[in-house]
Symmetry: C2
Subunit: 348 residues, 2 copies
Amino acid sequence: MASIGIKDVAAEAGVSVATVSRALNGHPSVSPAARERVLAAVETLGYRPNAVARSLRTDQTRTLGLVISDVMNPYFTELARSVEEEARALGYSVIIGNADERPDLQDHHVTTLLDRRIDGLLVSPTDGGSPRMLDAARAGTPMVFVDRWIPGVDVPVVRSDGRAAVRDLVAHLYGLGHRRLAIIAGPAATTTGRERVDAFREALGAYGLPLPDAYIGQGDFQADSGRRVTEGFLDLPEPPEVVFAADNLMALGALDAVRARGLRVPEDIALAAFDDIRWFVHTDPPVTAIAQPTGDLGRAAVRALVDRIGGRPGESVTLPARLVVRRSCGEAAPQETPSPSPVRRSTP
Amino acid sequence: MASIGIKDVAAEAGVSVATVSRALNGHPSVSPAARERVLAAVETLGYRPNAVARSLRTDQTRTLGLVISDVMNPYFTELARSVEEEARALGYSVIIGNADERPDLQDHHVTTLLDRRIDGLLVSPTDGGSPRMLDAARAGTPMVFVDRWIPGVDVPVVRSDGRAAVRDLVAHLYGLGHRRLAIIAGPAATTTGRERVDAFREALGAYGLPLPDAYIGQGDFQADSGRRVTEGFLDLPEPPEVVFAADNLMALGALDAVRARGLRVPEDIALAAFDDIRWFVHTDPPVTAIAQPTGDLGRAAVRALVDRIGGRPGESVTLPARLVVRRSCGEAAPQETPSPSPVRRSTP
DNA sequence: ATCCTCCGTGTAATCGATTCCACGAGGAGG
DNA sequence: CCTCCTCGTGGAATCGATTACACGGAGGAT
């Protein structure tokens, strides 16, 4: 059952293990004849190098860890996919850890990944920063935050800035005549959770609209919380005219709640969401959303991380999000907005 | 930068590395005093064992490989999630490889995973079986097929049988008065691609209905193919009254195509899909679908694989799928069918 | 012809754990 | 009191690669 190792190849080719290793790693000082024989031996034996042994010796695994908040969230799924693609192109594998928005699970994955001596870590933190992760960052593990981040840590951040898009959204809603706007917020422990509320409040302020506390529902980025918060909104003596969900799953929950009451979107209440996903085109009604350049984010994050691994600085990147208007806020949109997403960079 | 190793712990605790190793692995013959000192040393030094070195020595990585056809497909996402959960409960990590329905990518991932000496492999084959995978199976790598499988290989299969649910679906459609039923098939190279067509044809036969070739569209489990095939159906001199998509993404594509023509579902054409996903509740209209017990499949697959790794046989499992009626085939359903999915086991 | 350089190669150390084997101390049994 | 086990422990081999170092031979310069 013991698989063939480099020694077997050496024997078959009639050379030493050192020569085999050199031939396989493209080391310059190997004679063409020897290289030839090694390759032939590898072929006939079907030899494959043991990555575990190699990693132990070279102290690099050519593996990246990706810890995300929730794989079932289409946004993160897409992010994970683009991360894996770019990593593969750069010769890395990716191990994904699903934190399910639970700090303890997040820590479990970080620990496991570190134990496996991954070369670098991509994290979208669930909370404000567990000691374990901060330790890792301080200990010099190459690390990059993606989507969400933790303030005060010297780690590059790759994310999307939704501020402008939120302003566009509020302008759109205001233009449609809506004045009572509510938001289903994400956890205050996450940067995205806070930022989206701030951006919303700020945009509202520009139109002289208030954001009363009763119109700020505390969600946790999961569908259930969207449902619960929306029910609360509907029970208010003066319910909002619009509900803005800070992520796509909470929007789904909101849709559930509205439907359960027998109300209609957008006639009875309008709905908008942060994060655009392909299903929003086909929901009833199609949902107006803020789209992040997810693929670009994933690729930029991997490049920044690989830079860090290579000893280079690894730049932070902030990409703009954009508003995609559909029918869920009223008044049919003439067509899908096809504007390509511009790319902007900055280093904080 | 060199992290602390077992030697440092041994020095700190004033014992040998052997004792440290034994203490950490719960070996019986370690004195309480020594164990105490080792644990204390581990604590003060913040020592974490190097999983790479351990794997090299013990020849096990406590890692499972999962190669799936398409992460962006919510069905596989959910599968991956349940696999990871069960694996974690059993002390394993999971490395996910996304094949994107491409045999070459699938091979790449299988090779990479094997190089990393994963303990076992969970595969949902994209094609009829690449040499690389068959080699792996023959070479004795613990392996389990999930969802799709390759005939003629001695590997346990964990999957769902949709035959009965497809019969229920056809009965439902027939009862609604539909007589011209078409299907968007999956790739013939996959078992699920073939089976769903067979089951559909068989169920149609029971009602004396034909399944003409013109009503069998060849898709590839991706949204685009669903769109393309549906357009073909609509161009037919006598278009079908119902389109049954063999997976959820092709159903999405079909919805796109129908919408682009300005037609309505189900008034102009009815739609049903294999694989139920949460968004189908909120699409316009809600989509009638066949739901697989995805979570159970994932968990059963992991258990079978871990059995194999442990030298036990590892049983094949087939679980029934069930029909979930919604509005996309006509006539509003009174309510969501809440029947719990029964569990049945068999060993082929 | 002599010496110096490369060049290709092999031997052996190394990475950080686990584990076989040997050994000494102490207790039980004769 | 001697022998034999058992128990806790440490030394050293081992897993499968990479790589520093040494070495012999060929070729060029003087």
